[in-house]
């Protein structure tokens, strides 16, 4: 478990290869009995003027990395986790691509599942990240989290 803020951002979509690689890396940690993974995917919502083609993400990176670190520390205190990873996109992510990857692991399943669910909520509510939904070359809307 690292005690320094770690960059959570990846440029563009989170690739299936990164996710597969991350799963593979955990095979050496044999005290783990369960993983929980959340993947956020860009949805082609229908908007006034067309469908969402992509979301362009920007962030207050320094604050987001610091806040993600604080959340990470709090989650480690609250749940019996072996490890925890967060990857969020910056820049353009097309509809159907993955923009958020949250991965928790624990000796027994419940901690991993509960921690993952709480992390996703906290990431959406507390990290200074903004999505701009691209509808066409001229049209966009600022995303709002529900």
């Amino acid at each position: 478990m690292s005690h320094k803020p770690k960059n959570i951002f990846v440029s563009g979509a989170v690739s299936p290869a990164l996710i597969a690689d991350s799963i593979q890396k955990h095979s050496t940690k044999t005290d783990i009995g369960g993983h929980s993974i959340f993947l956020g995917q860009v949805r082609a919502d229908e908007k006034n003027g067309g469908m969402v083609q992509a979301i362009e993400y920007t962030a207050y990176e320094e604050m987001a990395v610091q806040k993600a670190f604080e959340i990470r520390e709090e989650i480690f205190v609250k749940y019996q986790l072996t490890c925890l990873h967060i990857h969020h996109s910056l820049g353009e992510v097309k509809a159907g691509e993955v923009c958020l990857f949250v991965f928790t692991s624990s000796p027994h399943r419940k901690a991993a599942i509960d921690a993952c669910a709480e992390l996703v909520e906290r990431i959406k509510n507390e990290l200074p990240i903004w999505g701009r939904e691209i509808i066409s070359a001229e049209k966009y809307e600022w995303k709002e989290n529900k």
Binding site: T58, A59, Y60, P128, W130, G131
Partner: protein, 84 residues
Amino acid sequence: MQQSAETKDIKIIAFGIIAEKIGGRELVCNGISDTGALRQWLANKYPGLNGLKFSIAVNRKLVHENCTFDNESEIALLPPFSGG
């Protein structure tokens, strides 16, 4: 001679729709030393912000009450978050 805090330029960074409405990611103000006064100054200078919700972070921490700052502080204007 050293400038007093009141006359030093303070750099402010803006994000998302707030950056769009003020026409850039950075702006400079002068003679303002708390977040309440900053909100007032922004409302007067940028009518486009009217009706838009935003939070203010001082040194990368959200502030919920009026908070003082100086020209060494990192001030940021943050519209509602929409990550994930």
